[in-house]
């Protein structure tokens, strides 16, 4: 039984010099077989395991992770959470995630520091304005809180922004989702891991998957660096490595793995209280609770598994950021890193069954995966448990690229995060 975290447990442990805290999760050796194996110990994978155990009563679950959990895109993103997507299907899925976010710390008894500080998507020209208004209205019709701010209202909300009146990329207005914001990325992985572990899920780190055992079209196990682990069902949630996994299972994906870069500045006292995103100039910024400016760039234009991108991408992003916030020029970049994001042609994810029976796939989140973590895990758990998608993810099939029922979230969702 995992003891609950609270200010009281903190006080109690403080008195015993913190000598009595238990480990947040066990580090078990893999069993010979499980009902379900989730490949990938990132936020989505751990959330999937958590909801499988919690909502679908599946007892025997393992999460296998090649490195340390939360070490992929979960620990490398810019932690933005919002649900103001254009199309009904996306909106429904991301809004479901948003509702889960709103109770996540309490549900997991782990403070994921979900901060609903609001997300602004800036509009810099007539085209942006038109798309923004269309999206804001679409959001409202989908029951998603969404507002439009004119330039002056943007200025009031973000006093340090330079509206660049008459400039090349003036701020003409912005959409605002007040319920959007940020969360502590590591905490999401750790909170789900602790929660899943408490429900009996085996989390197996430093265990690489080298192949799948497939017998007459049906997956029956996973070949790992710790040997074969049998399973009735296998869910693959490996983001940038989805194609590598699919390749092992004998099929291909409409996915490209490209570098996405981000950086943080040195910490400064609070200077910007919301998340500001600009699609036109491919930049977004927020300030972490520690005081670091968290800045995200656009993706590189080629396939890259190197968890690093080109200098020029960072330079272009910072040029854009410094145009919007000229006072940032004297602040300093402290850390820079890259992730591997799996991008679908229609900028929407795949949450689907696959050509291999009992093998399920959750990928294609591109640059927008973090915000979807709870909803993605929730829907994927359903898909695996019931062997059919929930209506929330019914449209996000692998098959849509054959049928042409694409969910094109390009452009209208600003930077697709």
């Amino acid at each position: 039984m995992t003891p609950r975290y609270s200010v009281f447990s903190l006080l109690r442990n403080a008195l015993s010099y913190h000598e009595n805290w238990q480990q947040a999760w066990r580090s078990p050796e893999p069993k010979a077989r499980y009902d379900v194996i989730i490949v990938g110990g990132g936020g989505h994978g751990l959330a999937t395991a958590y909801y499988l155990a919690k909502l679908h009563g599946i007892k025997s679950i393992a999460v296998v992770e090649r490195g340390w959990l939360g070490g992929g895109n979960t620990g490398r993103n810019t932690t933005i959470v919002r649900s103001n997507y254009l199309w009904d299907q996306s909106a429904a899925l991301y809004e479901h995630a948003m509702k889960l976010w709103e109770g996540l710390s309490q549900d997991l008894n782990y403070n994921v520091m979900f901060s609903q500080r609001g997300v602004l998507n800036l509009a810099h020209n007539q085209h942006d304005l038109r798309e923004t208004l269309r999206r804001v209205n679409a959001n409202r019709l989908n029951g998603i809180d969404s507002e439009f701010l004119n330039a002056q209202q943007v200025k009031e909300m973000v006093p340090i922004i330079d509206l660049r009146e008459g400039g090349r990329y003036p701020v003409l207005g912005a959409s605002l989702q007040r319920r959007g914001g940020t969360a502590r990325h590591d905490a999401v992985a750790w909170g789900y891991a602790r929660g899943a572990d408490a429900l009996g899920v085996d989390i197996i780190q430093e265990c690489a998957v080298n192949g799948f055992r497939i017998e007459n079209g049906k997956v029956t196990g996973v070949e790992t660096s710790k040997g074969l682990i049998e399973a009735d069902k296998v869910g693959v949630v490996t983001a940038g490595h989805s194609s590598v996994m699919a390749n092992m299972a004998g099929f291909r994906l409409p996915v490209q793995s490209v570098p996405l870069q981000a950086l943080v500045s040195e910490p400064v006292k609070p200077i910007i209280d919301t998340v500001v995103m600009s699609g036109a100039v491919h930049a977004y910024v927020s300030q972490s609770d520690k005081g670091e400016l968290v800045i995200g760039a656009g993706v590189d234009g080629y396939i890259g598994y190197g968890q690093r991108g080109s200098m020029q991408v960072t330079e272009e992003t910072l040029a854009a950021i410094c145009e919007l916030f000229p006072l940032f020029r004297r602040m300093r970049m402290l850390r820079q890193w890259g992730g591997i994001v799996d991008v679908c042609p229609d900028a929407s994810p795949i949450l689907s069954k696959t050509p291999v029976q009992n093998l399920y796939l959750n990928c294609g989140w591109g640059t927008g995966g973090f915000k979807a973590t709870p909803g993605s895990g929730w829907a994927f758990a359903h898909t695996i448990a019931k062997d059919e998608p929930h209506e929330l993810n019914a449209a996000f099939t692998l098959d849509r690229f054959r049928t042409g029922f694409l969910i094109d979230e390009h452009g209208a969702a600003a930077v697709a995060h």
């Binding site: 490595h241 194609s243 409409p254 490209q256 396939i303 020029q312 690229f401 054959r402 049928t403």
Partner: protein, 97 residues
């Protein structure tokens, strides 16, 4: 920041180039003969390998010519550059897990 050797202009900065995706994707010669699934495969499905990738690049800010590149998608090392329409040189098919 990659340095790419354009077969015509020589070694140039990545910023002069545009990536055109996986190479040797043959456009079907008899379009009518294909099913939707086969078309979807041609248009959307890609190897997206972690390792050796044969891809197309265009020297957009230079001679504007297209050419093929063999690149390691982990180290980003460019292993070969060869013209459109020709077969790739024999290379060790690096794969990482």
């Amino acid at each position: 920041m990659l340095q790419i050797t354009c077969p015509h202009c020589g070694a140039r900065a990545e910023s002069e180039f545009h990536n055109g995706g996986e190479a040797h994707i043959e456009r079907p010669k008899d379009p009518a003969a294909l099913t939707d699934a086969e078309w979807a495969e041609f248009v959307f499905l890609r190897d997206n390998p972690k390792g050796l990738l044969l891809e197309r690049w265009n020297h957009t800010q230079g001679c504007r010519r297209w050419f093929n590149v063999a690149r390691d998608t982990v180290t980003y090392e460019i292993l070969a550059v060869y013209p459109m329409g020709s077969q790739p040189p024999a290379l060790d098919p690096r794969r990482y897990v």
